[in-house]
Symmetry: C2
Subunit: 656 residues, 2 copies
Amino acid sequence: MSVNFMTDMDFNEDSSSVDNLCSSTMTAPTIVDVLIIGAGPAGLALANWFRNSDISVLLVDKKPGPTTRGQAEGLKSTTNEIFESFGIGPQVTAELWRLEEIAIWGPREDGGVGIVREQVIQDKVEELGKIRETMLQQSRVEHHMLQNLVPHSNIKIKYSTTPISVNVDITSSHKEKAYPVEVQLDKTQLDKDGIQDNATSDSNLPNERDEKEEVRAKYIVGCDGARSWLRKQLDVTLEGDLTDSVFGVVDIVPKSNFPDIRRVCYLRAATGTILLVPRSDKEVRLYIPVESGSALPDPKDLTFERIIDAARKIIAPYALEVGSVSWWSAYRVGQRVGSHFSRQNERAFLLGDAVHTHSPKAGQGMNTSVQDAYNLGWKLRLILQGHISTTTSDTSPETLLRTYELERRPVAQDLIAFDRGYLKLFAAPSSQFDTEFLRAMKFTTGLSIRYPPSCVVQLPAGCATADDLGPSLLKADVVPGKRLPDFQVVYQADGTTARIHTRMQTTGAFRLIVFAGDIAQHTHLLDKLQQLGAFLADPSGLGPLTSPSSGAVGEVAAVEVLVVHAAERDKVDFLGLPEVYRPWSETAGYDYWRVFADAESVHEGHGRVYERLEIDREKGRDVIVRPDGYVGAVLDLDDHDGVKRYFGVLGMLKGA
Amino acid sequence: MSVNFMTDMDFNEDSSSVDNLCSSTMTAPTIVDVLIIGAGPAGLALANWFRNSDISVLLVDKKPGPTTRGQAEGLKSTTNEIFESFGIGPQVTAELWRLEEIAIWGPREDGGVGIVREQVIQDKVEELGKIRETMLQQSRVEHHMLQNLVPHSNIKIKYSTTPISVNVDITSSHKEKAYPVEVQLDKTQLDKDGIQDNATSDSNLPNERDEKEEVRAKYIVGCDGARSWLRKQLDVTLEGDLTDSVFGVVDIVPKSNFPDIRRVCYLRAATGTILLVPRSDKEVRLYIPVESGSALPDPKDLTFERIIDAARKIIAPYALEVGSVSWWSAYRVGQRVGSHFSRQNERAFLLGDAVHTHSPKAGQGMNTSVQDAYNLGWKLRLILQGHISTTTSDTSPETLLRTYELERRPVAQDLIAFDRGYLKLFAAPSSQFDTEFLRAMKFTTGLSIRYPPSCVVQLPAGCATADDLGPSLLKADVVPGKRLPDFQVVYQADGTTARIHTRMQTTGAFRLIVFAGDIAQHTHLLDKLQQLGAFLADPSGLGPLTSPSSGAVGEVAAVEVLVVHAAERDKVDFLGLPEVYRPWSETAGYDYWRVFADAESVHEGHGRVYERLEIDREKGRDVIVRPDGYVGAVLDLDDHDGVKRYFGVLGMLKGA
């Protein structure tokens, strides 16, 4: 395996043109925009961002085919929102398993043998308004993301394929034609035991080196897991330590009279602790940390029987027999974060397990991987579709791409810090247990994430930090850098309901959500909505971004305008609104699905959006939502300049 | 085409054995249990009943493949419940379009030109607790039902196949081995225009008569539409008339400033009426009855332009331009019901459009077809799986199968009667309009259906008719012969929710739902539940029906026992209940999903089942639910004899 990162000094060729690249090798290299190493949850989620585009994507994975069994299972509601936005929400929802209750068990207070139930907590965060925590086998999650790519010929997957070298020309700019990433791929080699391992190149198996392939890409993304090959090539180190904790994990069908066997349980006995999580059908998963100390066992020495024996001692006096076992493992937890999440002048990125590892206790692994990908994907898409102009703003593609590390590395660091403290909560429950546990649930759901100010997270003039925004916005969580709270609205045209995160499909578009207020009661609000409409359609206003350009594959407008009013529905004249709010197409008719009311629905109650988001019905507000559902900016209804400034800073207003 | 129904007199062969049948022809005939003619909504729904069984089913359809476009679209919630029970609820739900509001428009009261909105009605029936009315193209409904058959090798489909003759030996009993139905199949012939029509046998196209096939079946079912071939062979006549109404129907993308274009609208102007129904995306469907009278047009003379012109006059002063048109048609409505729904000693059945036709106004066509099939399927399955013994009861398979006509023909007749009266409601809205319209919505949802007493609808001793049951049960709709009202319950084991109709998958099983009352507060109820448990497990009680027999494909217990208690969940000792309520399997573990609480859920509110069904928490009640979700009997909690009587009458208790 050769590794060579070209620098200014040893880079002698002009490789800014594809033709040059092709002519410099014997066989023509494969040219792609994005090369993704690893087709697990992170890689597949990233690839899903490039559906309905003409961006070429190659996913490679050393495995011979899709995963048939993965260890991760937990899916938080915010991850399920991502699947909704990919359009695979119904399939995932149909299969997933819900977790509704958490039981805490502790030792008997009288010092006797055995455990007693201390309390049952609802697995619920009120403001989510939906199921917080669900379970679905990693292989099924991957299946649905993979199936979702099938109709898109711009995205290709090669299994049994391993990268063996990578070069990145860091002098090249992020101009459209530059393919500075050179990668050699090879067919995955099998070792003597038939186990795939490319390190074993002196295998006795037939040498399949003739299946080598050269790839040139604009970007390379390592989604290749905890033992990431790309991480090593990029000289990224994992900072942190292996912990003392050796965990045994078993997936079994239990034969047990333990009454909470179908609830998430934290069991704390004198002899140790168990985290019990119900799986689909009749299985449960048990996590059993083996005590640390001088006699710390090597994970390899742990046997299934020893793990179950430990579990039996903890769960006593309840019985625990094993009906069947479908999987078990033992491992030592690493709590480490990569020194960098991107390298080589933002040409190479690391996502998911490749760049952070932690214990599986809070069910965060698959969620964080998918969310890393969700953060990076739209930024690459925006650049590759040519939406960012470097001539009109200070924001370069590099600046935008740097926000990936800026936003996601602190999340990983917080996760590790959380991971370290989480079990302490259960060690000796205090009087603040409920409050602390609720905070932990919000954290693991991702509701505590707030990305720092940047070109895509813009604070109003006069605000140095998001904390200066004022208590009302902060309370309602409508804060630049935070995920837009999900809410239910009613379509003006037909009275059906929508949830906003499901409505915001991953087209790559930003959304300008115009909370127009009560436009029936207040003429000045209707006037403001009309004026804003004119600005949004104006060629010297936001017009170039709100009307779809034609010709390109699946091209949509860079900014989709949505209106949420607070008026009585039957007092609103839908077709009297400016056309930007209900565009007409000669073939496809009016778009009736951009104007919503914050109103009582026929079958699903009232979303009470204005109340929940603390928006004044007499003033209204604009919220710019990034393609990934995070708030980019919050503005007054008549602050046209503010809207223009947001996209101007990003370099998206070319003529400006 | 030859037609010959053998009778006692001309039947000379012993065809009760398959071997005999095979030896009497040159090529071996195909032997199947059920032959279904027509793979539309009715045929596919019927076939779905035979999944997970060893019953062999052959569907034939003269079309060359699945429908790419059907005219039907309306799906009522009770039909969606059927899809849930088939396991395709999520797929259907993900695609369907909701209808939430109905707008009524009438002529201006001052006699001026134009129409005004009279009122907007919520398309809602409170007690359903869910979306009442949805839209999905027939082809997609068929697609999902078809896909659901693919994994089941006992069910086969042949397209481009037309039946050309049928003989039924009506002397043969419904014993397991008798295959009294003889059918000749042929490859569908194309006429000169390439249109499939088997009547044109003198076509110039190559004669493919060598693809003839002989089929022997136990049962034949005609799901072959309004021009049913089987109906003619069975000498079934359609009773009723073609109406005077000639309808024009258009599916268009409208360019209109009519404000309610995305609502269901009844438009009544001086110049005529329109029924407007929003379709998926931006299309709408308009039904425009052309005035009857002496100048009654022939449907063939109607042009698209003439229909749209008529629509324009009605909708004025609003504009109606056509962005695009995807389909249009004109036809005269027939309102007719078949003289028989089954013939030939219950060996041949007719379903759906084959046996009733009516106007499409109330969106009933696809619903009634699917519901016909849903009524017949489990009865055939029960007999073909050998659950009905004629030696121990007066109920023969014929008696059971006769309930298909007994139950479904009145539904079709009521539908026609309703159809005749429906538009009168809108002709001149009275002060009772809202009440009458709500009644009409309940009717079209199927909530008014009450099947008469029979071997599968049993009234308590002392009740001559269901009306004698008492006001409480009647009010709550827990009445033998009526659909069990759907309700939400919480699983005792894990706190997740279920809706009862979704929970009752189409396994062919009856359900005994034990409403056990508050078993935590009332010891006598817990005692009764224990005693009932003993009876249900007792080999001389209901034991033979509640434990699955082994060996057969997908065999499940004939009666699945479910418990819905009204106690505080944490005061119920799940594993302390008799095993019949939470069976154990050595490989699959406990079945945790048979015991429910009528309780507040973590995320989805309280089902309030006892209140809604008017069940006394201090008394409880047993409800026997048929495999199709209709109530079979309602009994006191300790009426073990009543339970035994129900299944005894049916001949399901062989040892009794």
